[in-house]
Subunit: 307 residues, 2 copies
């Protein structure tokens, strides 16, 4: 098993998925400076912000300002979360590269999180897709609770495949399978990834793991074995889980990249540079962050022997 | 890949490897009660204590008392760490099932940690083995820094195989490959485990991971793929790393068992029971513990939808 030089695509979600969960508003200037540093770090994609109602997510009420003023690197895809047609129009005015739509595979979670039935979400997202499709802007759909719902429990994998199929038939470029609250486990990940790839070979798949129960990197291994080459992660592990106070949130970008680089994959990302950026996060968000790697340093950080 | 029913052996090291690192002395009665709960939880082996000098490790100065007064379950192997012949004699007087000897593959780490060259350690451990061998007590050797040394950096895998070979020729029953400071990564683990098994098919191998850089469970996956079926872990993730203040220590038992059970392996351990015991640890050690699973609960813990 030689992975040397195999290209992987790492997508940074901290500016949206991380900052959205912060209680303290992060200054627009700080957001822009943070994203500009990420843009020079080798990411394939950065999820910049969310074009939702400022009332719903006040933490990201500066979406336009951030999107307009970041320094865009032509090698990076800048994506934004969009809940509806109004959000899509705002995003298109900002000339984003991609819009990211969200709904849940779990009916209970979709109602709780989006206040709609899944059928209503599908209808609304189909309208967004119709508006965006001919604009040259790419469309990705993030499916929540693919590997389990914190309210409903297990998810029938056929519901996942059915939703992927419906969005594929609407012409979206990418689908993200999200482990929203860290319920995925490796054998399940391998099975669902392999089957989704088999059924929908034309769809670009991203895997989005959370480390809520410590399995983010083990699940990444399973996804790699199923041929997945595109992963979301959040610098510092930012992004909490409302159902597990104090637990880790998103897969931690620097830990993911550290492991993949050691395994010989080509992520295009320098982990020491990531750690420099990650080290600025505690001051930015006003609290300690889950990253273990920030505390320990990379594997190559050596220590003098005791005297 | 169906693991259903495949037997794995989980070995709990918190009473030795965890408690040894605690600043606050844990009452002997509390240690005994804790170990008695572990004994009824399905572990294949428990590392109970260390027969070192009370001056060197005051946290475990009650080794005899603990070993004499725990309730031994005939299905559990009770092992103790032993540094020298004197320690081995104390351990044998306590009728332990196994002694666990330690040295490092890294010359620098061995000198720093044990104040001896590797050759001196080998000589001393050979004496211990000679004393113990005919007593009916099993002998395991834990090799530190197999996957990297925090002072020296990379370790030549041939040094690992050479040491395994020397102890195998001395007739030890088991060898533990230890990732002492969390430097192991999956492709390396797979390679070294597979090669060690190929070279020494008669040696019982245990893998001992640390989660210092978030890879404990990913490395477990790699070891499983190389045919390893025996793992050390520490309840709550107890056991720090002196080179990474604030970082996680040992692989967390409840997180390991949670993942393996979900994958269909037969660990013989009920993770909910482990969480009950783990929940007593913060009070016992006087601080928060690294276990993410203790904060989040198992994957099957469901939450009511918001009103």
């Amino acid at each position: 098993m030689d992975n040397t030089g195999k290209k992987l695509y790492i997508q940074e979600v901290a500016p949206r998925d991380g900052f959205q969960n912060e209680r303290q508003f992060i200054d627009t200037e700080d957001k822009i400076a943070f994203i500009d540093k990420l843009s020079a770090s080798g990411f394939a994609k950065i999820e910049v912000t969310s074009f939702t109602s400022p009332k719903a997510i006040p933490a990201l009420r500066d979406a336009e300002m951030v999107m307009h003023r970041i320094q865009r690197n032509p090698d990076v895809v800048y994506t934004v979360l969009v809940p509806n047609v109004r959000g899509a129009q705002r995003a298109m005015e900002c000339k984003v590269d991609e819009v990211n739509l969200v709904m849940s595979v779990s009916e209970t979670h979709n109602r709780a999180n989006l206040r709609m039935t899944r059928e209503q979400s599908l209808e609304q997202l189909a309208e967004v897709i119709a508006v965006v499709r001919d604009s040259g802007i790419a469309i990705n759909v993030s499916l929540s609770t693919v590997f389990g719902c914190p309210m409903q429990g297990d998810i029938n994998a056929f519901d996942v495949y059915e939703l992927v199929g419906r969005f594929a038939s609407l012409g979206v470029e990418g689908i993200t399978l999200c482990d929203t609250t860290g319920m995925a486990y490796p054998s399940q990940v391998r099975r669902i990834c392999a089957e989704t790839r088999r059924l929908f070979p034309g769809v670009g798949l991203t895997l989005h793991f959370h480390n809520t129960r410590g399995m983010a990197l083990a699940n990444t291994m399973a996804a790699l074995e199923a041929g997945i080459d595109r992963f979301d992660a959040s610098l510092g592990g930012l992004g909490g889980c409302p159902y597990a106070p104090g637990a880790s949130g998103n897969a931690c970008t620097e830990e993911l990249v550290h492991m993949l680089n050691l395994m010989g994959y080509d992520t295009g990302i320098d982990v020491e540079r990531l750690l420099e950026i990650s080290a600025t996060l505690p001051a930015l968000v006003g609290h300690d962050i889950p990253s273990q790697l920030l505390k320990a340093g990379t594997r190559s950080r050596l220590h003098p022997p005791p005297a």
